[in-house]
Amino acid sequence: MTGAMLVQFIKSAMRLSATFLYGSTGETIIEKGGHLNLGIPGVMSVGAACGCIAEYYLVKSMGLSAPALLVLIPLLVTIFAGALMGLLYSFLTVTLRANQNVVGLAMTTFGVGLAGYLITKMQAQNFVIITRASRFFLNMFQVQSENWFVQIFLSHGVLVYLAIIVAIVAQIILSKTRVGLNLRAVGENPATADAVGINVTKYKYVSTCTGCAISAIGGFFCIIDYMGGNWEYILEGFGWLSIALVIFSMWRPVLSIPGSFIFGGLYILANYIEGTTFAQMEIINMLPYIVTVLVLIITSIFGKKSVQPPAALGTSYFREER
């Protein structure tokens, strides 16, 4: 691998990593509240589809005249769509106390299907518009230079930096504030949280909706930035990888910053190794999952109590249960 290729590799890995980072930060927030949301792939797909549609209508109706709005409004639509999916999930799992795994898997199937439907509804030629918007999107805040440092660290779209900021802020809120303490208590032991007067239902709803909204940004980013505005059905796989990344980073958003970079790197590695056959490429593409399995094995063997998943993960809570 030449130097230029290495720079290109690192740059691409960083860019892709933002997708995983959004997804895993969102999922971490949800899991800290005690909910294992397997619907993340669906949430990401729906978020991306809604964002793209918003982008399309904006460009069509306004041209490319108001740059800030072009970024902001689709982003808000994505967040809203993600939160809506989160609301559906929390209504089913918190209020109706349905099995979280079943609801999560159903959300994935539903979300991926819905996104496909929405995207197909927009006809193919419209993607030219989104691609144009995407190019614009990329060029905002971007520094043009051949210098390797600039190439690696400063040549990304705004959402890449936002991903890192979101992860850091999430970490600070989770570990340094009372809100985070209360949320962790809800995920560890909802009965305890309830007994000290924390509104368990509220915390679960808010954390799930927030987490889903953040994950949805990941989907939107992936299509509009990483894919350059071309819709492809890759978000489901990215969603699963994001969930794996939560385990990989041991429920710490800050650790998932380097973790997402590793995942991103492993995911595109095959393209940068010359002379690999198709079969070999598939094996390399498996690496993120294999690494996750290894991390699971290692953390289970040397399991300290502090790096275990939230104790009440995956269980429903009902106060008057006897």
Partner: protein, 614 residues
Amino acid sequence: MCITWLGGNFPPNRFIFFSGGNSVEKTVAIELRGITKTFGDVVANKNVDLDVYKGEILSILGENGSGKTTLMNMISGIYFPDEGHIYINGEEVVIKSPKDAFAHKIGMIHQHFKLVDTFSAADNIILGEKCPKFDLKEEKEKLAEAHRAENEAYEHYDESEHPGPLAYMTKPKFHSEKETKRKLALMPLVGIGKKIKFNWLAKKRADVVQDIANRFGFKIDLKKKIYDLSVSEKQTVEIIKVLYRGADILILDEPTAVLTPQEIDKLFDVLRNMKAAGKSIIIITHKLNEVMAISDRVAVLRKGEHIATVNTSETNEQQLTEMMVGKKVSLNIDRTEPHDVKNRLVVSGLTALDIDGVKVLDNVSFEARSGEILGIAGIAGSGQRQLLEAIAGLYKIKDGAITYFDPAKDDAPVDLRSKTPVQIRDLGVRLSFVPEDRLGMGLVGNMDLIDNMMLRSYRKGFMFLDRKSPKKLAETIVEELEVVTPSTHTAVRRLSGGNVQKVLVGREIAASPSVLMAAYPVRGLDINSSYTIYNLLNDQKEKKVAVIFVGEDLDVLIQLCDRIMIICGGKVTGIVDGRTADKNKIGLMMMGQLHMDEGAALTDSSTEVMPDGE
């Protein structure tokens, strides 16, 4: 004694007691009137009236399922009553959630500690704390008022009255109108700032809580994680938690169930101190001796109804039991002299490790004899569970021998070491095990009585299951042990704790064992059920079964067992004769402060030669 209402408008929470000429005035802290709560068809509480005074300790006594905990859960906001009224300090209140309970200064310490294992003790204590209220309007008025006052002082300030170089320090400041306006405009920001500051988890948060704990005289390091704390320390954390929240009414749900006698004494001292500080304490228990020792008054519940509230000084254990059970019960456990005693199970030098390689059993040696009950005493988690599981073939042992002497084969020795439960049974060893985890290891909660009986017999026969004999067995157990169940087809999970235990013990005894191991068989059971279980164990002893009984109530162990083995941290610290055992010394041995050579001194000469292992 008579109760007099003073005047028509007098608040109902003030009774005057005239008792033998001395009038003692007591203020009611909390009053329950006509509280009813049902779960489906089950009436948990029916029309309960109860008063709790300030500065007293009230015991709530009742059998299992008599609705003690349900009643208290309604005061602490876990459940919401279907009917009835609650008055606190004379005012009617609605307690919909634990939050409301805190607002009324009610704190409950649950039987199963409500603590987050992975948090530090201090974090558990501050958990859920609410930000102090910041009323913008009020704060604005306060600021304006303060500025006005200072300005006035400035105008009347006479410099000649304050000579000296430091005069500027006492000189009031003048606040211009502009400054006041600016500060008022910034007020919302101050509010937000305070909120953020409150929300931030500062490093010194543990110190603040630690100070309070020290002030109340608790010796505990609150920076430790909960999973590193012992049971009594966890309880202390719970108590500090409710005190930290400024609770005036403390409810303790069976606080002594998991403590050693010494720890119970300590707890009672704490409770008496709190009582002296004017707090009301409600303690739920079914241990009569504790009721007599700690409480001022006793409220007795039976089947969800309030039977009576009596002054502790005017009653006795027998009377309380009768009120509780509703009929006369004998509180004595018969202990027959064992005869024709033979070694049935000999354990020597048993050592086992847990997952982290820590010794959970360290060179344990003892023998269980036929026709005898061997008690095992120890603080919860001292290795009792691992010991029984090792014998039953469920726990891997590292070292040592377990030998069973088969009565069917003329006491021929059989080696049980490192055998699976199936292998042990195939060897013809009749071993019955009542594990402490009834619905986890003992029975399958979602299966009915018959299927649970079948767990022991499903291997019999060819191809098709025999359902008839398990059905018969289930029916026999229901009938003979008076199991309360709608039918034998009811899921075991739906039965109350005592009935679940009867089913389990019944099944194990039905296998006509020669060794019966029972871990905490009366945990959570009421007096009546407990005595049923004790009698069952005694019956087995009569039938020449070697009974191993792991218990937590020392009084019972001393009354029931022929010999008591005490373990502490996986080591045997002594084996004493049940007839001559001293409770306090056993307590010390449980904490490892007294060892068997000393312990041996307190048994009489006829008992127990210590195994050489130690």
